[in-house]
Symmetry: C2
Subunit: 173 residues, 2 copies
């Protein structure tokens, strides 16, 4: 089975790490977005809020630079979060043209819940693996990600907004 040039077909595509990674990555992003939807945020919002926890008061440009996205996208993300009452655009003390982004109390209350959702999602995703295998997988994935040369922060290209959600999701419960 090492050589199948006669059949012409190579590996069945489920034995390729690149295919598996792409497929799993898509699935993971989709399911995580679905799980995060009841909280009213998308994965990229979660990443932004998580980063803001340690960089409160910085400007939008700094945020966009840190997360590796364009400032234009940051405008849209902050618009969403501001509309949901999770961040505030205050006046920057040093630069009157820049905004100082701050988390609201609602964000501080929401973030632990979002982290719980992420933990549950990860736990469900890796249900077939033992604790040692999970740690090894994370280590290997991090090595691969580190080898790509990309910054370790939030990755670009995460629209992944759940559709069919016209109104405000019922967070009244």
């Amino acid at each position: 089975m090492s050589d199948d040039s006669t059949t012409g077909a190579g590996r069945p595509l489920t034995a390729r790490a690149n295919f598996l990674l792409s497929q799993l990555g898509f699935h993971v992003a989709q399911t995580f977005a679905a799980r995060l939807a009841p909280l009213g945020i998308a994965p990229n919002h979660f990443g932004l809020l998580t980063y803001l926890e340690r960089a409160e008061g910085c400007t939008q440009q700094q945020l966009a630079d840190a997360l590796g996205i364009h400032r234009k996208v940051m405008v849209g993300l902050l618009d969403d979060l501001e509309q949901r009452g999770l961040v505030e655009r205050r006046r920057h003390p040093g630069d009157r043209r820049a905004h100082a982004i701050h988390l609201t109390d609602a964000a501080h209350h929401l973030l632990p819940r979002a982290r719980t959702v992420a933990d549950e999602h990860e736990d469900d995703l890796l249900a077939a693996l033992g604790a040692d295998e999970r740690a090894d997988l994370v280590a290997v994935l991090r090595r691969i990600a580190d080898h790509t040369g990309n910054p370790p922060g939030v990755h670009p290209g995460l629209p992944l907004a759940v559709k069919g959600n016209s109104g405000a999701p019922g967070d009244a419960s």
Copy 2:
């Protein structure tokens, strides 16, 4: 750095398997599409051609069903491949309403090159890993993918067409 509940920030997002998988999956799909672009096809085209190698002559509905996508998407994919002279829509011997999809000689010549590109891409992606680690990673990923319940075939949601490529790419170099 194991516990920082005082700061409120959980794991730095690069220690979560779900985040790493999503980030890596996106990166892998992007780089693979970029590598495949000089051949004039996208990753989903490659998957379709690969499946067609073993299912030549079947209908579009069977293809769409096997790859887990809608028939409409299959129309567009086959349009692309037919325009590039890689597949042919012949008359189905049994059903006059269905088409029998066949690979052309150009496709048979292109597929080994595409497989080489995939091999090189995978090899470059896993450059930081040894042979044993690669096999373990593939096995673990396959277990996770198998646990999701999705069909093992081609995964949905792969637009990933390289932009800015209006004309035929110059592979003369």
